[in-house]
């Protein structure tokens, strides 16, 4: 089948990977524009929400957290694609990772940017979001560090900072190359961004060490971020949220959806940017196996979570469990199991079906399934509070739908712009020179 990209001549690699940057087709422009418009529509919906009030959402007592929080958890989960996978692979020196890491790191940064907006979108008085930040003020008012939301804010800000650095570092050598022969504005852009990289040994070593260090740091931060996201729920005194399993469960789910996002992104990039010889079946196969592993892990956690609740038979928890598995939300719960387990198990477990298409389809299924899974975690608990008389049912409105759809469009748009500014695969990693020693 396809040759390993490492075996291709470096000039060809360079040409192949830099080519998408120099040309923007009309269809590409159009697609970007459409995504922009959908994203802008989401902003309009948000503007409407800011103007009218949170009542334009389907949120109602007692379901105070809904689609926005689902989106938040989902996108923060997707962000684990990224960095976590690339960091693990980098640390374990898996050579096949080379064409995969940049896309993964970009997903992380964009997913975090998008996910990080939701806590603000979701605020009753979003314009006061800065009150959550600790800043000096004459009234000596500080935010409450006992609140998991503050931990969350801290973790996410750290993670965003870390992942931007982590995306940026391996871009430096590529940008230095791009600054050489290019249109004037691009020369200026890449020149500035490459921070005067000359390619000296000292620089290579510094970069190498920085990336190793960041890979270690980002791993720890990524695990903690999603644990803290899980604690937003687990620290609450709500049935089926107040659970010790939530930290690892959310981390596993995040990596699961992250890998799926990466596969989907690769599947699309491969076609759109004509990277068939770089993103080969081998890459998909390896990632698919990883995805299958995570699917099984997800199933294990889901069972562990639900089985203990069912066996314990505590009435308040059973109300939520029942709503999930047999009541109003049951169709969604079982859809989740189907999309997150049955589909990937069949498509990825059977070698014959584990093709590029198969892996992409399974990943899309997992992405959908994981979004719904987050809904199933967030909503039924709130809809079935401890005092039954306050029970309710939550139905999102068009505003929430518009903003959710807009975030997907925004992701696509950011990714498409990124792909036209930076090579989607780190070119220098294929360079025969400076690190022949590895």
């Amino acid at each position: 089948m396809a040759t390993a990209p490492d075996l291709l001549p470096y000039d060809r690699i360079r040409a192949d990977l830099f080519r998408p940057l120099s040309r923007v087709s009309r269809r590409y422009m159009l697609a970007t524009l459409i995504f922009f418009l959908v994203g802008a529509a989401g902003l309009v919906a948000w503007g409407f929400q800011l103007r009218r009030g949170m009542g334009v959402t389907g949120l109602q007592r007692p379901v105070f957290w809904g689609v926005y929080i689902v989106d938040f958890v989902f996108w923060i989960g997707i962000s684990h694609a990224g960095t976590l996978i690339s960091a693990i692979l980098r640390l374990t020196d898996a050579a096949w990772r080379k064409p995969v890491t940049r896309a993964a790191e970009a997903i992380t940064v964009f997913a975090l940017m998008i996910g990080g907006m939701f806590p603000i979108i979701h605020l009753g008085r979003a314009w006061l979001f800065y009150w959550l930040l600790p800043y000096p003020n004459s009234r000596l008012l500080w935010p409450n560090f006992r609140s998991p939301l503050l931990w969350d804010l801290t973790a996410i800000v750290t993670y965003v900072t870390g992942s931007v650095i982590y995306l940026y570092l391996p871009l430096i050598p590529d940008m230095a190359q791009l600054a050489e022969h290019n249109t004037p504005w691009r020369r200026r852009l890449y020149g500035a961004l490459s921070l005067g990289w000359t390619g000296s040994d000292r620089e290579w070593h510094a970069l190498e060490r920085a990336m190793k260090l960041m890979a270690c740091v980002i791993l720890a931060v990524a695990v903690s971020v999603h644990t803290v996201v899980a604690w937003d729920f687990a620290m609450a005194l709500a049935p089926m949220w107040h659970s010790t399993i939530f930290g690892p469960y959310f981390v596993a789910g995040a990596i699961f959806s992250g890998i799926a996002a990466l596969i989907v992104a690769m599947g699309i990039l491969r076609k759109v940017l004509h990277l068939e010889s770089y993103l080969t079946r081998r890459h998909f196969d390896r990632l698919a196996k990883l995805l299958l592993l995570m699917s099984l892990l997800w199933l294990y956690f889901t069972m562990a979570e639900n089985l203990t609740v069912w066996y314990g038979n505590e009435p308040k928890e059973m109300a939520v469990f029942g709503a999930r598995t047999r009541g109003a939300y049951a169709p969604w719960f079982w859809t989740t199991v189907f999309l997150n387990f049955v589909v990937p198990f069949v498509l990825l477990g059977i070698r014959r079906l584990r093709t590029i298409a198969g892996a992409t389809i399974a990943s899309a299924s997992v992405l959908t399934g994981m979004w719904i899974e987050r809904f199933i975690i967030v909503v039924p608990t709130l809809a079935n509070p401890r005092l039954p008389s306050a029970s309710s049912f939550y139905r999102p409105t068009w505003v929430e739908a518009a903003i959710t759809v807009a975030t997907f469009a925004a992701m696509a748009m950011l990714f498409m712009i990124f792909a036209k500014l930076f090579p989607m695969i780190a070119v220098w990693e294929f360079q025969p020179h400076p690190q022949e020693d590895d």
Partner: protein
């Protein structure tokens, strides 16, 4: 008067309560609760700082109905308090679980973490057709859209009574402070007072054999005591 600090509490005798909802309207009138419309109500936008929970028990013909007024339990270990990232809800020195509207940014976390679901959100900026605003109680804030609100134990009445007593240079008497719900209750099912005063009526009722607390097992230490129906 051996104590200087008050610790406000309430006792609700379910053997007296008839579920007549006088307390609910009293609360609406006292606390400037937004007036809903059928459209808003259909979206779950009504607010009732005190509500009557109603449950049927048994099957016909041996059906019973249980009515139970539920308001903010003013927990000593309130789950809503630690989760607020901006200290918009906190415990004040008199044991009240206070909601500061100015500070609230609307994360909803407090409401999620309230096991009694007694927190209500201002989904929209409230509107009153003219001349209904003439009825507004000037002692109580008109809450803007986007903030959480809940029962305050009629803090404005506590303050007014304390101010009256201070003007007259005397201590507060037991029963002098009456939140609107307590004041209105025809069956006198609700009693309000100082739990730090062992002789107060509410302290004595809290020690009654029928007294329990709602969801006591969660360790929230509510300051509302329910006296269960005697048989």
């Amino acid at each position: 008067m051996t104590h200087t600090q008050h610790r406000w509490g309430m006792a609700i005798d379910l053997d007296r309560c008839t579920g007549c909802a006088a307390c609910v309207v009293a609360c609406h009138a006292e606390n400037n609760l937004p007036v809903s419309t059928p459209e808003l109500a259909a979206e779950g936008r009504t607010a009732h700082w005190i509500r009557i929970d109603r449950y049927y028990q048994g099957e016909f013909p041996d059906v019973k109905v249980k009515y139970m007024p539920v308001l903010c339990q003013q927990c000593d270990e309130a789950p809503c308090e630690p989760v607020c990232p901006v200290y918009a809800t906190y415990h004040n020195p008199e044991g009240l679980n206070v909601q500061v509207y100015n500070r609230c940014v609307g994360t909803f976390y407090c409401a999620n973490n309230c096991p009694y679901t007694v927190r209500y959100f201002n989904w929209f900026a409230p509107q009153w057709p003219e001349p209904l605003p003439l009825q507004h109680n000037p002692d109580v804030a008109i809450r803007p859209g986007g903030v959480m609100e809940k029962c305050t134990f009629c803090i404005q009445r506590i303050k007014r009574s304390k101010e009256d007593a201070a003007q007259e240079g005397r201590p507060l008497a037991d029963g002098e402070v009456r939140p609107a719900c307590v004041q209105s209750c025809p069956a006198e099912a609700m009693v309000f007072g100082d739990l730090n005063d062992p002789e107060s009526k509410v302290s004595r009722l809290a020690g009654n054999g029928r007294a329990t607390k709602l969801l006591e097992e969660l360790g929230t230490k509510p300051k509302v005591f329910y006296l269960h129906k005697a048989t």
